[in-house]
C-alpha cells in the first residue's frame, strides 16, 4: 500500500521558491533516502510533508488522506514521526518530560526507548537545554518514536554523533526497518545510508534529479549530484 | 447673544463617574433654563493632564469657546487654568479648588462654584471638636491629601492619635485598619476619594473595629454610596449641600435630575449645576464680548443655588454654609441626610492673600 504520496509540490519561503515540483512515493515498509547537496531542498520537502511549511501547489497524501489544509498536529497523527534538522528538543523540559510529552499509545514505550538509548536514562532528569549535542540527537529520535509513527522521518539524525552511537542509530534504523516501519531519511554518510535504503530520491535545486535503487547510484552519479 | 462653553471632564477611565455627574448636572441647568444661546462642547480628558491641556487649547483656538469648565481633578485644573486665563478665557471650576489658585495666584478670570478644597475638611475638624477627644486621621499621600489633613487640623483642637498617609490608588487597608485598632482613638477621619474610599469602608466594616468614621462629603457622595453598601450607614460627613435641604431651588434640582437621569444627584452634579446657573445669570446681565464685564456679572452670583445661600468671596470662591450629614437608608437607597450645620457663611483661609 502507498503510505506517502508526494505529487508535484511547490513550496515558497515568502516569495522565494524553494521547491519546484517534487514528486515521489513511499510504500509501506519502505526505506527511502532523500539526498542532495546543501540547500537543495531536502529539509524543505520534509517540512512540506509535515505541513510545517505548507506547499502552495501540488498535493500530498498520507495513507490515502490528503493533507492539504490539515493542521500539522493532524498530519502527525496520520502517523508521521519527525526528527527534525537541528534536533529541536524542548530545552525547558527534562529528558523524561520530553519523551512523555510526545507519547502516544503503541508498541513504542518509554521502556523500549530507554533500552534503545541507555544514555537517556542516565540523564533522565536533566533539562534538555544542557544536554550534549549527541544526547539531544538521541532524545529527538526517542521522542519521535514515542509517537509511534508509521513513517519515521529522520533529517540528518546522525549528525554530530560519535561513531559508536551512530552505529547504534543505524542499527536501530535497521531494526525498525525489519519491523516494517517506513522511513524517510536524510543523511550524509552514504556508506551507511545506501545499504539500508530501498530507494533513493536525489534533489537538485528544488527538483527531483534522479530516483532509483541504491545499486544504480553509480560513482559517476554520486559525483554529479552529491559531489562525492 | 450666543455663548460657547467648553466642558472638559473625565468620561473614561476609573474616575469617569464624577465626570458623568458633572456633565449631567451642567446640562440639566442649561436645559431647565430653556436658554438656546448657550452651546456646550464636551470632551473627555481621560484624567490625563496633557490631554486636558490639549483639549483646552483646541477649544480655545479652534472651537472659539468663551468659557471653560468641568474639570474634576486638581492636577488637571492646575494644568489648564493658567493657560486658559492667560489667553483671556473665563474658567469656572465645578469641583477642583487647589489652594494655589485661591491665594496669591488667584486670577480675576478664574471662578470656583464648588468650594475651596479645604472647606469640607475644615468642617469635619470643627465638628470633631464637639464629638471626639482623640482622632486618627488619614489621607492619600499627594497634595490634595495633605491639604485635607491640614484643613482638618486647622479647626480640630483635640488630641491626634495618629496621622497616616496612604498610597495613591491603594486598594488594601488591612495595615491601616490594624493601626486604627491599636491607636486608642475615639474617632477616625478619612479622606479617600473614589475607589480608595469604597475599599477602605468595606474592609473597615469587616474588620470588627467599631470606632466611628467621619470624612468630607465627596468620600460618601451619592456616586459611591451604592458601592460601599450598608458599611457606610451612620457615617458622618460634611457638605455644602445635601439633597434633603429644604428650599425650592433644591427641589427643582433634585427632582429634575432624577427625572432626567433616573438616579439621585451627587455633589458633583450640584456643583456643575450651579456653575451653569452662574453662566446663565451672567449672560443676561453682560455681554461675553466684554470679558471683564461678564466676570463682574458672574461675581454677583445672582442665582438660586440648591444649597441655599451662595455668594463669592474676594478670591471668587464661595462663601456658604456647611453642614454635617449622616448616611441613612431611605426606601432601600443609601443617601445623606443633614444632621446639623457646622459653619455659617464660611469662606476660606487663602482669600486674604488674593490681591487681584
Amino acid at each position: 500500500m502507498m503510505l506517502l504520496d508526494v505529487h508535484d509540490i511547490r513550496t515558497f519561503y515568502g516569495s522565494a521558491q524553494a521547491l519546484f515540483g517534487i514528486t515521489f512515493q513511499i510504500e509501506d515498509g519502505e526505506v527511502v533516502a532523500l539526498m542532495g547537496r546543501n540547500g537543495m531542498g531536502k529539509s524543505t520537502t520534509i517540512k512540506s510533508i509535515c505541513n510545517l511549511m505548507p506547499p502552495k501547489g501540488g498535493r500530498i497524501s498520507i495513507a490515502g488522506t490528503a493533507t492539504d489544509r490539515l493542521p500539522p498536529h493532524k498530519v502527525a497523527r496520520l502517523g508521521i514521526g519527525l526528527v527534525p534538522e537541528g534536533r529541536r528538543c524542548f530545552p525547558n523540559l527534562t529528558v523524561h518530560e520530553n519523551l512523555v510529552a510526545a507519547a502516544r499509545p503503541g508498541q513504542w514505550t518509554l521502556a523500549r526507548v530507554n533500552a534503545l538509548f541507555p544514555r537517556l536514562v542516565e540523564r533522565r532528569d536533566q533539562l534538555a537545554r544542557s544536554l550534549s549535542g549527541g544526547e539531544q540527537q538521541m532524545l529527538a529520535v526517542g521522542r519521535a518514536l514515542m509517537t509511534n509513527p508509521r513513517l519515521l522521518i529522520l533529517d540528518e539524525a546522525t549528525e554530530g554523533l560519535a561513531p559508536v552511537i551512530r552505529q547504534d542509530i543505524w542499527r536501530a534504523i535497521r531494526t525498525l526497518k525489519a519491523e516494517g516501519l517506513s522511513i524517510l531519511v536524510v543523511d550524509k554518510t552514504l556508506s551507511e545510508l545506501l545499504p539500508v535504503a530501498d530507494r533513493c530520491v536525489v534533489l537538485e535545486n528544488g527538483q527531483v534529479a534522479w530516483t532509483g535503487v541504491p545499486q544504480d547510484l553509480t560513482a559517476d552519479l554520486q559525483d554529479r549530484y552529491l559531489g562525492v | 447673544e450666543p455663548i460657547k462653553v467648553g466642558l472638559i471632564t473625565t468620561l473614561s477611565g476609573g474616575g469617569a463617574g464624577l465626570g458623568v455627574d458633572t456633565r449631567d448636572g451642567f446640562m440639566l441647568a442649561i436645559k431647565q433654563s430653556g436658554n438656546k444661546d448657550i452651546t456646550v462642547v464636551t470632551e473627555d480628558d481621560a484624567q490625563k493632564p496633557e490631554l486636558a491641556v490639549q483639549i483646552a487649547d483646541k477649544m480655545i483656538q479652534s472651537d472659539n469657546v468663551d468659557i471653560l469648565t468641568g474639570i474634576v481633578w486638581s492636577n488637571l485644573l492646575m494644568a489648564v487654568v493658567p493657560g486658559a486665563v492667560a489667553q483671556g478665557k473665563l474658567y469656572i471650576s465645578t469641583n477642583a479648588a487647589p489652594a494655589a489658585l485661591a491665594g496669591e495666584k488667584c486670577d480675576p478670570l478664574y471662578f470656583n462654584a464648588a468650594y475651596q478644597n479645604d472647606n469640607l475638611h475644615e468642617a469635619m475638624g470643627e465638628y470633631a471638636n464637639k464629638v471626639y477627644k482623640k482622632m486618627f486621621i488619614m489621607a492619600p499621600n499627594y497634595p490634595a491629601g495633605k491639604d485635607s489633613l491640614t484643613g482638618f487640623k486647622r479647626y480640630y483642637k483635640g488630641e491626634l492619635a495618629k496621622e497616616v498617609y496612604t498610597q495613591v490608588g491603594q486598594t488594601d487597608y488591612a495595615a491601616e485598619i490594624a493601626q486604627i485598632r491599636a491607636s486608642g482613638a475615639d474617632g477616625v477621619f478619612v479622606f479617600l476619594p473614589g475607589g480608595m474610599g469604597i475599599s477602605f469602608m468595606k474592609q473597615y466594616a469587616q474588620s470588627g473595629v467599631k470606632i466611628p468614621v467621619i470624612g468630607p462629603g465627596f468620600s460618601f457622595s451619592q456616586d459611591v454610596l451604592p458601592a460601599i453598601g450598608d458599611a457606610a450607614l451612620g457615617v458622618k460627613a460634611s457638605g455644602q449641600w445635601s439633597k434633603d435641604l429644604d428650599n425650592e431651588a433644591n427641589k427643582k434640582f433634585v427632582a429634575g435630575f432624577q427625572k432626567e437621569y433616573n438616579r439621585l444627584p451627587s455633589l458633583y452634579a450640584l456643583q456643575a449645576y450651579d456653575a451653569a446657573q452662574l453662566i446663565l445669570s451672567a449672560s443676561s446681565k453682560a455681554s461675553i464680548k466684554d470679558v471683564k464685564a461678564f466676570a463682574a456679572a458672574l461675581n454677583k452670583a445672582d442665582i438660586q443655588s440648591p444649597r441655599g445661600k451662595f455668594k463669592f468671596n474676594n478670591n471668587r470662591h464661595p462663601i456658604q454654609d456647611i453642614y454635617v450629614t449622616e448616611v441613612v437608608k431611605e426606601n432601600g437607597t443609601l443617601t445623606n441626610k443633614i444632621v446639623e450645620k457646622v459653619f455659617t457663611d464660611h469662606g476660606d483661609a487663602y482669600a486674604k492673600d488674593c490681591k487681584k
Binding site: Y13, A16, G36, R37, N38, G39, S43, E85, G86, R119, R123, S130, L131, S132, G133, G134, E135, Q137, M138, E156, E159, G160, L161, A162, P163, V164, I165, R166, Q167, K188, L190, Q222, L226, G227, V228 | -
Partner: protein, 249 residues
C-alpha cells in the same frame, strides 16, 4: 618543540555532581591540527566553552601565546585571538551573511564605538568580508539573511566569521556537522591549508575528516583525556576502539 600557542592545564568544571571536564590539559602547537574526539557528552563542547569564556572553569589555567586568559570575558578572549565556531550555529539571523562577517571584520579592525561612517559604504569592511565568504564558497549567498540559509550554509558561514578575526588559535566545534559529502570534502581540504594561518583545535565526529587532517588526537571520555597520540596510535588503541570508534577504525 616550539612554545604552544594555546596551553591548557588542569581544567575542571562540574555541573552539580557531574564532572564535565576533569583535570584536562591539552596544548596546541603552531601549525598543527589537534583533534579532540570522544563520546557524546564527554565534555568536548564544555571544554571549548571554557576556553572561549562562555563558561567559567572551576579550576585550571588557560594560556594563549604565553598569557593567562582564564579570567577574561568572552569578548576579550576573542580579541586576544580565539576564533571559534559553534556546534549549533549561532548567528545574527536577521543580518545577511555578509553583514555577519562584516561584524567580525569590524571587531578585528578596532573599536565599535564609531558613530559616523555608514558601514554599508565602508569598503574596508565589505571587501574583506566578501573575501572571507568566497573562501568558504558562500559569496553567491552573501546577501541572504543568515536565518534563511540552509543548515549546511550556516555552518559554512560560521567558519567565514572565524576567518575574519585575527586568530591565533581556531577552536572548531564540529565544523563538518551538517555539511553534505561534498561540503565535507571541500572543508577538509580547506582546513588542511588553514592550519598554516593558525593552529586548530578540532572537535569532530567525522572520523574520515579527523584521520585525514589531525596531526595529533586527544580522546576525551567522561571529562578526562584518556589518550593522546598520532592518528595511528589512536586507531590502534583498544580502549578508544571500544569506547568510541566501534567498527570505524
Amino acid at each position: 618543540m616550539a612554545e604552544p600557542v594555546l596551553d591548557i592545564k588542569g581544567l575542571r568544571k562540574n555541573f552539580g555532581a557531574l564532572k564535565a571536564t576533569d583535570d584536562v590539559s591539552i596544548s596546541l602547537y603552531p601549525g598543527e591540527i589537534h583533534a579532540l574526539i570522544g563520546p557524546n557528552g564527554a565534555g568536548k563542547s564544555t571544554l571549548i566553552h571554557q576556553i572561549c569564556g562562555t563558561l567559567r572553569q572551576d579550576q585550571g589555567s588557560i594560556r594563549l601565546a604565553g598569557k593567562e586568559i582564564g579570567n577574561l570575558g568572552v569578548a576579550e578572549r576573542a580579541r586576544k585571538g580565539l576564533g571559534r565556531t559553534f556546534q549549533i550555529s549561532s548567528l545574527a539571523v536577521e543580518f545577511s551573511a555578509l553583514r555577519n562577517v562584516m561584524l567580525a571584520v569590524q571587531a578585528r579592525q578596532g573599536s565599535s564605538f564609531r558613530f559616523l561612517r555608514p558601514v554599508r559604504s565602508d569598503r574596508n569592511l565589505v571587501d574583506e568580508a566578501m573575501d572571507r565568504l568566497s573562501r568558504v564558497g558562500l559569496a553567491e549567498r552573501a546577501h541572504i539573511p543568515a536565518g534563511e540559509l540552509s543548515h549546511g550554509e550556516k555552518r559554512q558561514l560560521e567558519i567565514a566569521i572565524a576567518l575574519a578575526l585575527d586568530v591565533k588559535a581556531f577552536l572548531l566545534d564540529e565544523p563538518m556537522a551538517g555539511m553534505g559529502p561534498e561540503g565535507s570534502k571541500v572543508l577538509t581540504g580547506f582546513l588542511a591549508k588553514l592550519r598554516q594561518e593558525a593552529p586548530i583545535l578540532l572537535v569532530e565526529h567525522d572520523m574520515d575528516a579527523v584521520f585525514a587532517l589531525a596531526d595529533r588526537i586527544s580522546v576525551l571520555v567522561y571529562g578526562r583525556i584518556i589518550a593522546t597520540g598520532t592518528v595511528e596510535e589512536i586507531r590502534r588503541d583498544p580502549v578508544v576502539r571500544t569506547a568510541y570508534l566501534g567498527d570505524h577504525a
